[in-house]
């Protein structure tokens, strides 16, 4: 896996430019306290969606248990930062959350990833529910149904932005790497990949664990930013929310997940004043988008810097002609 190449640098430039623009907008007050929350929600959703996209879009495994892994990350980081309310505590918490989630994902993944399609989906859904019930029952550690409150507010938006960029880089580079290509081969045709000597179980499990680990990061940042977590935040509905972002953006497109998370974040801001009607409009929009664009916004294509350049070149050529 080569980390430093032209594409990576190109994207890094985009990421830094994005950060500067956001920083400027926050200091000048264009992004107010309210839009900062929208921004953070979008960033965390990007982390979650990109991770889930690795599982669904690249390895072709249908998981409905993302909220469960997110919950482990959130609770681990939440509990640790309550004891060590420093940045060291936070990073320790994120790390512990990632490790714990990876272990759970490994234990869950090895037997269940043999399952196909919908059976895997329902098994992962079951796992997420079990995780949630365990959290509710560990009253002395997790404070049960009432959840944890007063988690130190440490992950300010720039930190979350950095983690978002890191997550995208990690997943994007993984899919370009040799194990990543093996993973994509599994998605395209599992039997063919296997007969070509690809250890399918291994790569499916790696993708599953990576996806789960990013969910843990998302959960940990969520806990640290919002200060309050409870088991009810990590239900089946949360998994579905992330799944919607992935499908809406295009299964197998990382940039698609990013664009979808941003669009849905703004849609939420826009629909907030509609009160109870909001969810009806949202549902109709969801159905409409799927009917007219079932492959999502970007399909499985990526939005690339070079593609953008080509587009501009073509445009200017047309303009001259």
């Amino acid at each position: 896996m080569k980390l430093i190449n032209k594409t990576t640098i190109g994207w890094l430039v985009v990421a830094i430019a994005g950060f500067l623009v956001l920083q400027l907008a926050v200091t000048t007050g264009i992004i107010s306290a309210y839009y900062e929350i929208t921004l953070v929600t979008i960033l965390i959703n990007i982390i979650l969606a990109v991770g889930l996209n690795l599982i669904i879009g690249f390895s072709g495994q249908f998981s409905l248990g993302h909220a469960g892994f997110m919950a482990i990350g959130a609770y681990t980081a939440g509990i640790i930062t309550k004891y060590f309310p420093t940045y060291t505590g936070l990073f320790l918490g994120i790390l512990a959350g990632v490790i714990l989630t990876s272990i759970v994902a490994l234990i869950v993944g090895i037997p269940t990833l043999r399952l196909k399609g919908d059976y895997l989906a329902i098994a992962t859904l079951g796992v997420a529910e079990i995780i949630r019930i365990v959290i509710v029952n560990m009253q002395s550690v997790t404070n049960g149904a009432a959840g944890l409150s007063g988690i130190p507010y440490l992950s300010k938006w720039p930190l979350i932005y950095v983690f978002t960029v890191l997550t995208i880089l990690l997943v994007a580079n993984y899919t370009q790497s040799s194990p990543g290509r093996a993973t994509i081969a599994i998605r395209e045709d599992e039997i063919a990949a296997e007969s070509m000597g690809v250890n399918t179980t291994k790569y499916k499990t790696i993708a599953f664990i990576l996806g789960a680990a990013t969910a843990a990061i998302g959960g940990a940042l969520h806990a640290s930013y919002f200060s309050v977590i409870r088991p009810g935040d990590f239900t089946f509905n949360k998994s579905v929310d992330v799944l919607i972002i992935v499908v809406f953006g295009g299964i197998g497109s990382i940039t698609g997940s990013v664009v979808a998370a941003i669009l849905l974040g703004f849609l939420n801001v826009f629909l907030q004043p509609f009160g109870a009607l909001r969810m009806i409009i949202y549902a109709l929009a969801l159905i409409g988008i799927m009917i007219f664009k079932p492959s999502g916004l970007l399909g499985n294509k990526e939005f690339t810097v070079s593609g953008l350049l080509r587009l501009f070149n073509r445009k200017s050529a047309q303009g001259e002609g």
Binding site: E129, I133, L243, L277, I287
Partner: protein
């Protein structure tokens, strides 16, 4: 021992409700391989139709039940035609998201028009308790239990013995081949939704009557459980749905009765995962060999 048998009765009556909802799930899945997440909400709409018929139009129980079944069936067909049919050739995940969208729409639509608060269902059937050898069973429990079994047999008959059933099985096995043989695939799929949704509507009215409570979110939890039941029994197989429903009902009851009621759902999901690992196609499901 008496308590144990009483708990088994409790489990069976809870299980028949799951089974009743699971039947519709399993039929739709069998034919177009779609996890119809809106199924639990059609069940909810069915309960509300029954409620409105009895409460506002003064219907008796059976007319209300039939109306609820008919209107739910129409709703199911309408949903299939508008939301699922255009996606016949899209990825299954896209159809799944559409189903979730329909589910949100039904929930929030009912929330908007009927309000969020729970309503009590008009008690139009006398809920007499029968006591046999120290065991209690109520009239509605018997009614639900009998309805589930009758419907299962009836469905099995339709699928196995009628021409439409034959067409359904053909579409389920290979829909493009079925089309080549002159089967109108769209009609068969619509018919499946018609049957499945009618069952969901019936389940809604029966459950509303049994527990005396309906609200717009009532379909979510039983819908999920019923889906688990269908998968457990072997999704796509009609007896599998009933077996899965009874299994979950009994397991839930036994965990609450002899174990810790706090971990009831965890045990249900744990058993589901175990069964899927041991028999990936569910208890009654046939394992389909992969073709290269």
């Amino acid at each position: 021992m008496e308590t144990f048998f009483q708990q088994m009765i409790n489990g069976l009556s809870l299980g028949s409700i799951y089974a009743l909802i699971a039947l519709g799930y399993t039929m739709v899945y069998g034919i177009i391989k779609l996890i119809n997440f809106a199924h639990g909400d059609i069940y909810m709409v069915g309960a509300f139709i029954g409620y409105t018929m009895i409460h506002s139009f003064g219907m008796g129980f059976f007319p209300a039940l039939l109306t609820a079944m008919a209107l739910s069936a129409l709703l199911g067909v309408l949903i299939e035609r508008i939301a699922y049919k255009p996606l016949r050739h899209a990825t299954r995940i896209a159809v799944l998201i559409t189903a979730i969208g329909v589910s949100y729409l039904l929930q929030n639509g009912m929330l908007y028009f009927y309000g969020a608060e729970v309503r009590s269902f008009p008690q139009v059937v006398d809920n007499t308790l029968f006591e046999v050898a120290g065991l209690q069973v109520s009239r509605i429990q018997l009614l639900i239990f009998a309805t589930t079994l009758v419907l299962m047999v009836l469905l099995q008959f339709i699928v196995q013995k009628t021409k439409m059933g034959k067409a359904m099985r053909a579409v389920s096995t290979d829909s493009s081949a079925a089309q080549l043989m002159g089967i109108n695939v769209d009609n068969v799929i619509s018919f499946t939704f018609f049957l499945g949704s009618a069952l969901a509507g019936a389940a809604g009215v029966l459950v509303g009557l049994y527990y005396n409570t309906i609200d717009p979110m009532m379909g979510v939890a039983p819908g999920l459980k019923a889906f688990v039941a269908a998968v457990l029994g072997g999704i796509g197989f009609i007896p599998g749905a009933v077996l899965g429903g009874f299994t979950i009902g009994i397991v839930e009851t036994l965990v609450s009765a002899y174990g810790n009621s706090m971990i009831r759902d965890a045990v249900v999901y744990g058993i589901l995962i175990l069964i899927l690992i041991i028999r990936p196609a569910g208890i009654l499901g046939k394992h389909v060999k992969e073709k290269v």
